[in-house]
Amino acid sequence: MSDNSKDLATVTSPYSDHEYPAGLANVSDDKVTDPGIEPHRVRMTDKSKKHEKAAVRQVAALFFLSMFGSAFALYAYFAFPIDANLDTVRNNTLFLGLGITLGLFGIGIGAVHWAKTLMPDAEVSEERHLTRGSEAKRAAAIEILALANQESGFTRRKLIRRSLYGALALFPLPGIIIFGDLGPNPANSLRHTFWANGTKSKPLRLTKDPDGALIKASDVTEGSVYHVIPEGLTEDNPRYLEEKSKAAVLLVRVDPKDLNEAADRKGWSYDGIVAYSKICTHVGCPVALYEQETHHLLCPCHQSTFDLNNGCKVIFGPATRPLPQLPITVDKDGYLIAQSDFHEPVGPSFWDRAAKTNSNGIEG
C-alpha cells in the first residue's frame, strides 16, 4: 500500500483512543452539519386516552382471534378426518391450515400492533464502539499471546512445531479414506448394458416397457414409437433400476428412403426400424419425445434435439454426441432382437469413455 501512501488522508478519529486511515476516500472538511436526531412525533395513542384504549382493545381482540384460530384447528383435526377420498385430504389440509394460520397471525399482528401503538416509539441513540479493541486491550492481548508463545516455546522449538504441522496434515487422511467403501470401483460397469446378456445362439428380444411383451417387426408401423427394455429385465430383478437406467431404448420405424445410415451401420436397422438409446448423452435424462413428422427426438430436461434420420446426430441443445444405436434385426418368428450390446457406453460422457480398456487393464 506504499504506492499511494501520500494520498491517504489521515483523519482524527471520532473515536477517542486512536486514529485510523481513511484510504482513498475524499474527506471533506466542508460537510453539511448534522442537525441531530429529529424531534419525536407524538402518536395519537400517546395524546388521547380514547385512542390508547382502542389500541388496547384491538391488541386483545387479535389475541382472542388467535385463540379462536388455534381452537378451530384442534376442532378441524377431528372434524375433518381423512379417508380414501382425496377430497377429505384436501379439506383436512384446508381447515387445519386455516385454523393454524389464524392462530399465528393473531399473535403476530397483535404483538406488532402492541409494539407500534403502545410501547415507546421515541428513537434512542446508543454509542457504538470501534470493533477493534482499545490500544490498551490490544497490547494486553498481544502480551498474553507472547507469554503463551514463550512458555510453550512454539516459535522457538522448530522441531516440535514442524513435526506438529506434519502430524496435523496427515491425521485427517484416514478420515477421508475411510469413505472409500461408499461405492465400488466403477470399472467397466458404465461400458456394458443388460443387452450384453444376449448371445449368438440366444439373442435378447426387444420387449415393451414396462410389461415385457415381445415386439414383432410388423407391429412397429411407421409413425409409432415403442419404449423398449431388454427381454428378461423384470421388476423383480434386484438390479432392475440400474439396468433399466442404461438399457432403455426407443424404437421407431421410418421410411427406409429417409434413413441416412453410416456405411458401418447399414446392417443395424431392420426395414426402416431403428433402435436408439433413450439416455441422453448430455446428462442422462430420458430422451423420450419423438416428433413423428420431423423425426426429431427431444430431451425434455435440457432440450437437446437429435435427428433420427441421420444417426441421431445432435441438431440443437447442449449435447454433443449422437445417441448410441442398438443394432437390431428379426428372428425367424418375426420378433425384433438385438444383434449385440451397444457399441459404445450409453448416457452422459465420462473421462475415459472412449478408451477401449479401463485403468485396471480389463478389456472394455
Binding site: L104, G108, V112, S245
Partner: protein, 545 residues
C-alpha cells in the same frame, strides 16, 4: 435465605423465577448487557429475520416429517389409499411420502409447510443479501459476516436439494440423474465420485438414505453453527443504519431490544410462520403423487429443479451444441464443465465482492451508516448486472414453459437467452449507473433549490417562476450525508516502479469513481439558502401586491 426470601414474597412469581435463574445462570448480567441494546428500525432490515424464521419453521415441520418418513429404497408394492398408484412397485421412501400425504392428518399440510418454507428460506436469504449488497452493509467491519452469510445461502441450497430428492419420485429422481450426469462429466474422477455417491451404479439403493443423513443432520447442524456465528457478529458489530440526521458511524439509532424489538421481532416470527402456513393451506407444492415412483425410463415434460437450483439448470441448457471435446483418447465434457465453471464462478465473485471493493477503495474506516444505492452508482450498477445475469440463468431453466405459455419457439427462446446472458447484464449496468447518477443530480437539485411545489408566481418585472419549497434540515441531511471517493492514479512504489497491481487498482478505481457527483457542501448550501431567502422575499412581495 435471608436476602432472597423477602424479595420473592414481595414481587411474586415472576421475580422469583428471575431470581432462581439468575442465581444459577447469571442471567442478570446478560440481560443488563443486551436488554436495552438498540436496533434500528427499517423494513429492509427484517429480510434476514424472514430467513431465520423460515429456518425455525423448517426445523419444526421437518421434525414432524422425520417421524413418518422412511429413507429406504427397498422396493415394495404400494398399498395405500391413492388409487392410481395402488399395487405399483415403488421404494419405501416414496411409499412413506405418499402415506404422510394421504394417511396422516395434517401430513400433507406439514409437507407443504416444509417445502414452501424451504423455498422461502433461500428466497429471503437471497433478498437479504441483495439488501446488504446494495446498501454497502458488507463494508468493513462486516466483510467476514458477508462470507458467513454467503455460506448460509449455499447451505440453504444444499439443504433444499438434498430434501428435494428424498421422496424418490420421478421428478426428483430425474433431478438426481442430472446430478449424476454432471458428476460423471468431471475429468478423471467423475465416474469414481458418482460410484461413491450412489454406492455403485445410478440409482442404486443408498442415495436416499445418504441424502437423508446430510439433510437432517450434517447440513442443519452446519446451518445452525454458521447462523450462531452470523448473529454473534451482528451483536458485536451492532446493526447498521441508514444515513439521516443524528445517524453516525459512531452511534446506532433505533429502539431498545426490550420491549419494542422483542414484541416486533417475536410478532414477526408468528407472521412469517403464518404466511408460510397460509400458502401451504391454499397452494399445492410438489404433488409427488402425480409423478409416480422413480423409474429411469419415463420423464415428465417440465422437469425442473426448485427455483434456487434453477440457475445451474439454466446454464446447462444455455451451453451451445458441440462443446464436448476429445483430449487424446479422453472426453472433456465442456458442455457440463462450462456451466459449472460459470455457475460456481458467479457464486465466488459474490462471496469475495467485499474484498474486491475494499481493495479498490483502499478504505480502512469502519462503515456503519449505509449507502443509499444511488450514492454508490458503480456498485449499484454491478449489482444490477449480477441480478440480471442471475435472472437470465434462472429464466433459461424454464425455456420450455416460456415457449408453451407465450406461444413461442423453444429454440428461439433458448437462443435469445444465450445472447441475453451476455448482453442484458451490460445493458443493466449502463442503465442503472445512468439512473443512479441522475437520481443523485436530482437530490442535489432538491437540496439546493427545494422541491417543486407546482405553484407559479409572476414576479414584479414580469418573470414567471415556480415556487420551490425548501426541505427541512432533517430531510435535507438524508440527501447530503454520503461518502465521496475520487479515482486514484497508479503511483510508483518505494523502488520507483509502478507495479501491475497498482495499475489494475487505479484502473478499477477509475472504473468505480470516474463518474461521480460530489455531496453538497455547507458553503454551497449556505449560498443556496441565502439565495432562496432573497427569492422568497421577492415572491412574498409579488403575492402581496
Amino acid at each position: 435465605m435471608t436476602t432472597t426470601a423477602p424479595s420473592r414474597q414481595k414481587n411474586g412469581f415472576l421475580a422469583g423465577t428471575a431470581n432462581y435463574v439468575d442465581e444459577r445462570v447469571g442471567v442478570a448480567g446478560i440481560l443488563k448487557e443486551f436488554g436495552r441494546k438498540i436496533f434500528p428500525d427499517h423494513w429492509s432490515f427484517m429480510l434476514g429475520e424472514v430467513a431465520l424464521y423460515s429456518f425455525l419453521v423448517l426445523l419444526l415441520s421437518g421434525t414432524f416429517l422425520t417421524f413418518f418418513f422412511q429413507p429406504a429404497m427397498t422396493m415394495v408394492h404400494y398399498d395405500g389409499v391413492y388409487a392410481p398408484l395402488k399395487g405399483a412397485q415403488m421404494s419405501v421412501a416414496y411409499a412413506s411420502s405418499l402415506d404422510i400425504t394421504f394417511q396422516v392428518r395434517g401430513g400433507l399440510l406439514m409437507r407443504q409447510v416444509h417445502h414452501w418454507a424451504a423455498l422461502l428460506f433461500v428466497a429471503a436469504a437471497g433478498l437479504h443479501m441483495l439488501r446488504v449488497f446494495f446498501t454497502g452493509a458488507f463494508r468493513k467491519p462486516r466483510e467476514l459476516n458477508w462470507v458467513v452469510g454467503f455460506v448460509l445461502f449455499v447451505l440453504g441450497m444444499a439443504a433444499g436439494f438434498t430434501g428435494y430428492s428424498l421422496p424418490d419420485d420421478l421428478l426428483s429422481g430425474n433431478g438426481l440423474r442430472i446430478i449424476d450426469g454432471m458428476i460423471k462429466g468431471v475429468p478423471f474422477i467423475g465416474p469414481w465420485i458418482s460410484s461413491l455417491l450412489f454406492g455403485g451404479e445410478f440409482p442404486g439403493d443408498n442415495i436416499v438414505a445418504r441424502l437423508y443423513s446430510l439433510h437432517i443432520m450434517l447440513i442443519p447442524a452446519l446451518i445452525l453453527v454458521f447462523l450462531a456465528v452470523h448473529l454473534f457478529m451482528l451483536v458485536i458489530h451492532k446493526h447498521t443504519h441508514y444515513s439521516g440526521p443524528g445517524r453516525k458511524d459512531t452511534n446506532v439509532v433505533g429502539y431498545p431490544l426490550m420491549p419494542v424489538y422483542v414484541a416486533k421481532a417475536g410478532g414477526f416470527f408468528f407472521i412469517v410462520f403464518g404466511v408460510i402456513m397460509l400458502v401451504a393451506t391454499f397452494f399445492t407444492i410438489n404433488p409427488i403423487w402425480n409423478y409416480g415412483g422413480y423409474d429411469p425410463s419415463p420423464v415428465s415434460a417440465g422437469t425442473q429443479p426448485d427455483w434456487y437450483i434453477g440457475f445451474l439448470d439454466g446454464l446447462l441448457r444455455l451451453a451451445p451444441t458441440g462443446l464436448e471435446v476429445m483430449v487424446g483418447d479422453n472426453t472433456l465434457s465442456m458442455n457440463i464443465l462450462w456451466p459449472m465453471i460459470i455457475g460456481i464462478g458467479f457464486l465466488l465473485v459474490v462471496a469475495i465482492y467485499p474484498f474486491i471493493e475494499n481493495w479498490v477503495t483502499g478504505d480502512k474506516r469502519e462503515h456503519h451508516v449505509l449507502d443509499r444505492p444511488r450514492n454508490a452508482p458503480t456498485r449499484t450498477a454491478i449489482g444490477a448486472a449480477g441480478v440480471t445475469m442471475y435472472a437470465v440463468m434462472w429464466a433459461a431453466a424454464s425455456t420450455d414453459l416460456i415457449a408453451t405459455n407465450f406461444r413461442m419457439s423453444l429454440n428461439q427462446v433458448l437462443q435469445t437467452m444465450q445472447i441475453s446472458l451476455f448482453v442484458l447484464p451490460i445493458a443493466a449496468f449502463i442503465i442503472t449507473k445512468r439512473v443512479a447518477l441522475s437520481l443523485q443530480r436530482k437530490d442535489r437539485e432538491i437540496v439546493l433549490h427545494g422541491r417543486e411545489s407546482g405553484r407559479i408566481v409572476r414576479l414584479p418585472h414580469g418573470e414567471y417562476i415556480e415556487v420551490h419549497e425548501q426541505l427541512d434540515e432533517f430531510d435535507r441531511y438524508k440527501l447530503v450525508d454520503f461518502k465521496d471517493y475520487k479515482p486514484t492514479l497508479a503511483r510508483p512504489n518505494a523502488a520507483g516502479k509502478i507495479t501491475l497491481g497498482a495499475r489494475i487498482r487505479s484502473g478499477l478505481s477509475k472504473f468505480y469513481f470516474e463518474d461521480r457527483i460530489a455531496p453538497v457542501t455547507q458553503t454551497e448550501l449556505n449560498e443556496a439558502i441565502h439565495h432562496a431567502h432573497e427569492l422568497h422575499d421577492e415572491v412574498q412581495k409579488a403575492i402581496e401586491n
